[in-house]
Amino acid sequence: MSEKYQVSSSPHVRAKDSTSRVMLYVIIALLPATLFGIWNFGMHALLLILVTIASCLASEWIFDKIVHKKNSLPDLSAVVTGLLLALNLPAGLPWWEAVIGSVFAIVIVKMMFGGLGQNFMNPALGGRCFLLIAFAADMTNFKSSKFEAYSGATPLAMIRNEGLSSINVMDMLTGKIPGTIGETSVIAILIGAMILILLGVITLRIPAAYLITFAVFMLIFGKEPMNANYLVAELCGGGLMLGAFFMATDYVTSPITPGGQIIYGICCGLLTGIFRCFGANAEGVSFAIILSNILVPIIEKFTIPRAFGLAKEAKKNE
């Protein structure tokens, strides 16, 4: 028996989680929505997904080379960014516009601020919002060969313009509606969300706070208050589910304190409700989430847990 003691500093027990593993889980969880999107919108959707992932990887690699940083491709975060960005694009978008969005997401939103972990807002959403402002016509054109019968308007826009009777809530659940590649099928997104929750990648705090706040807001201020059918349609419509489970829960741009996560979710829900009810567009999830991303440092500042043994007075005296 060895008489030697191993002396090492804490931590002594390490979790197996690494950045690349978490990212891999997220990619797996996004697969149902991705596959449904490809099935729903056809080969051009697949092309867009491949283009965004490839250009995200390429721009991250080139940026690393230019600033002499360690190659950060193996952490897979660029793949997640590319995939999430593609899922937020309409299937008919020209491919070169998708490339511009990817480069903006990676270079300006993520790498310029120091790479993964330093970005102040979700890169994929930053890229999407850039495209939304830059190519407003193409980004809101949801016409695709499969859905010409629906005249290309998303259900949210139809509720807004023509009223609740013009849409079919069941189609919104399964996803046979016009929209961006990954947002249409609520069922596929919920399968992915279940995977993330079961694997422990995300907790329910942010999505639950987000969705509940949004639901309450819509029940009170929505176009048809206290109407369950309308509420379900608003919950299933647009990028809300994808945003709540995959974008708002991004580790880098959400608070780490449990209390902060709930406040952050409430912020997302309130802003989404305000944008959808009173904004110029039918959809406001991406802007709501990136605005809440910017609030995160303040939220964290006010929700730092009290260290064990420190009294409240002691904290005040600091």
């Binding site: 020209p94 516009e97 511009i100 300006i108 402002i133 830059a134 190519f135 407003a136 016509a137």
Partner: protein, 239 residues
């Protein structure tokens, strides 16, 4: 280097008001949605700046120190009014495009900054050249920003079809909106910083821009050479 040429070099490169001193950001961001607007704004500022520098330099011994700011403002405002009326008479479309930013030249930091830090301490001829240098630097900055925003955001080059002539080109409209102004300015400032770093590495002297404007003569690298290190700076510190 001739001191007049030095003033021009100082205004365009060394202390470029847009990219180095970061002065006059409000018109820089607001009116540069096209190259012609940027050029027009830059040139009208140039005219006002040259004449205000000349007048303030001529009156510098008459103006009491305590009321120098109101005196400068009166001089600048009269000049701006002249420019505004001339523009309304002869360039009505540009006047409409620049809108409220022409009257706002009165409170442009570059003009008051040069009046305070240069014209009030130097002779009229040098002040004119300082105004020309600074004005050219500002015009250059605004025109470049406007040009880039116009090419990307509208696909035109000084109003002529350029990128938009390519079939299938969709203008990136974000660039003629406010976020585009911030993005383009940020990239140009970054580019200017690279150029300045390379010039410094080659041994060309580039003074810290903060020195003169902050009135902090003690820490200024050119303190020994500086002619403007007069009562003005020490008065400021005491006040």
């Amino acid at each position: 280097m001739n001191k007049y040429v030095e003033r021009l070099y100082n205004g365009v490169i060394k202390e470029n008001p847009t990219f180095v001193l970061m002065l006059g950001m409000c018109p820089t961001l607001a009116v540069t949605s096209s190259a012609i607007n940027g050029l027009g704004m830059g040139l009208s500022t140039l005219v006002v700046l040259v004449f205000s520098n000349l007048l303030i330099s001529l009156f510098r011994k008459v103006i009491p120190n305590g009321v120098r700011m109101p005196a400068y403002i009166v001089i600048v405002a009269s000049l701006v009014t002249v420019v505004q009326f001339l523009m309304q008479a002869y360039l009505p479309s540009l006047s409409k495009a620049l809108g409220v930013y022409i009257p706002l030249i009165v409170v442009n930091c570059i003009i008051l900054g040069r009046a305070e830090s240069y014209a009030s301490k130097n002779g009229p001829i040098e002040s004119i050249f300082d105004g020309i240098g600074m004005g050219l630097g500002f015009t250059m900055g605004l025109t470049i920003i406007g040009l880039i925003r116009e090419i990307l955001g509208a696909g035109t080059f000084f109003g002529l079809p350029f990128l938009s002539a390519i079939k299938g080109f969709t203008p990136i409209t974000i660039f003629i909106m406010a976020p585009g102004a911030f993005l383009v300015l940020a990239f140009l400032v970054a580019g200017m910083n690279i150029i300045r770093k390379k010039m410094e590495a080659k041994g060309k002297p580039l003074a810290e821009p903060a020195g003169c404007l902050s009135g902090d003569c003690a820490h200024c690298g050119q303190s020994a050479l500086c002619t403007g290190k007069s009562a003005g700076a020490s008065d400021q510190e005491q006040a």
